[in-house]
Symmetry: C2
Subunit: 201 residues, 2 copies
């Protein structure tokens, strides 16, 4: 019989923290204790930050990014190249590309991949909106930066077909050996892709 | 050059989440995205739970437990055995013992261990208060449930000396092979303690 040593408020906080990815029941308990111990330095600012996020967060109506304004900071940024749209599955992918600072164009977040078995069709993703955006004469390239998974790649093929009508070049990310990757640890699919796309030195 | 794809509010939330034990910068980012995606189910209740914790949390003036009232729920509980005080280092230890439901007495949270090198003396912990509590004629046993570390054990020895004046039996947790433990993976200190404290079957 497990008993609760703390009040119901803290038990509730622990249960909610345990639902964050990367935290289990035990680490949620540790996190809650840490929060309570560091009240001024951590609990107060985190409570405020969460409340502020809750009250201000929006999904950008243009690209699907998450921000406190719509259109988002990236879509509003006039220094970005409006001729290119980089298509990603999730907001996390957009953030990863922005961290690498490798895309100077705009983005489009699909919200997932096509999955007929799970009943996820084109209208459940933001595919119609992407086709609209790609039809803008300003846009000349659509880069399909989808995950190198079966779902990602079949969605990419579907998008390629759909974008054939628009006057845009459709590209995809290069596949091959990741930087720092050791051949011994790579799967056969990656090695095959790297050999097939080999470059003259 | 890393760029922020989301607004400063979200970057701030990520930085705060990264300071929780068990979450690094990368998992904090994932947690923040997860929160934003599950706004109704997770972000809203977590923001409320944190605000409520911030506004209601107290340290029990008697035992040092964390609760929303002082004296805490455990100290107020009249069904508990007031003749025994179980001394622990941190609130997390108290919670662990309560989860196991093995202590029916009261607790006393020291707030750490003695550490002369770090300038932590008896007055930096709640040791004077413990001596006061142990002097109560109602108290007959003090169980020193400190960690089986050098710091925990030297603090236990100090407490034993201090409690010699009070009319209480001082005990400590048994040491030995943990339940489910395989001898092959146990350190020599544990094995030595288990052999030394062996019991007739």
């Amino acid at each position: 019989m497990a008993r609760a040593a703390a009040g119901p408020e803290i038990e509730r906080l622990i249960q909610l923290l345990a639902r964050l990815p990367g935290l289990g029941p035990r680490s949620a308990r540790r996190a809650a204790l840490h929060l309570v111990k560091k009240k001024e330095q951590l609990l107060d600012p985190l409570a405020s930050a969460l409340a502020e996020t809750r009250d201000t967060i929006l999904t950008c109506e243009t690209c699907g990014n998450i921000d406190t304004q719509s259109p988002c900071t990236l879509c509003r940024d006039n220094t970005r190249d409006r001729s290119m749209i980089c298509v990603v599955e999730e907001v996390g992918d957009l953030w990863a590309l922005e961290r690498a600072a490798v895309i100077n164009g705009l983005y489009h977040v699909l919200g997932g991949t096509l999955s007929p078995l799970d009943g996820v069709g084109p209208d459940d993703l933001t595919i119609p909106k992407l086709i609209d955006r790609a039809a803008d004469p300003q846009v000349t390239e659509v880069l399909l930066a989808l995950n190198a998974t079966v779902e990602g790649q079949s969605t990419a093929h579907y998008l390629m077909d759909q974008l054939a009508g628009c006057n845009v070049a459709v590209s995809r990310l290069a596949q091959g050996v990741p930087i720092g990757g050791e051949l011994d640890y790579l799967d056969e699919g990656t090695l095959a892709a790297a050999v097939k796309a080999r470059k003259a030195m």
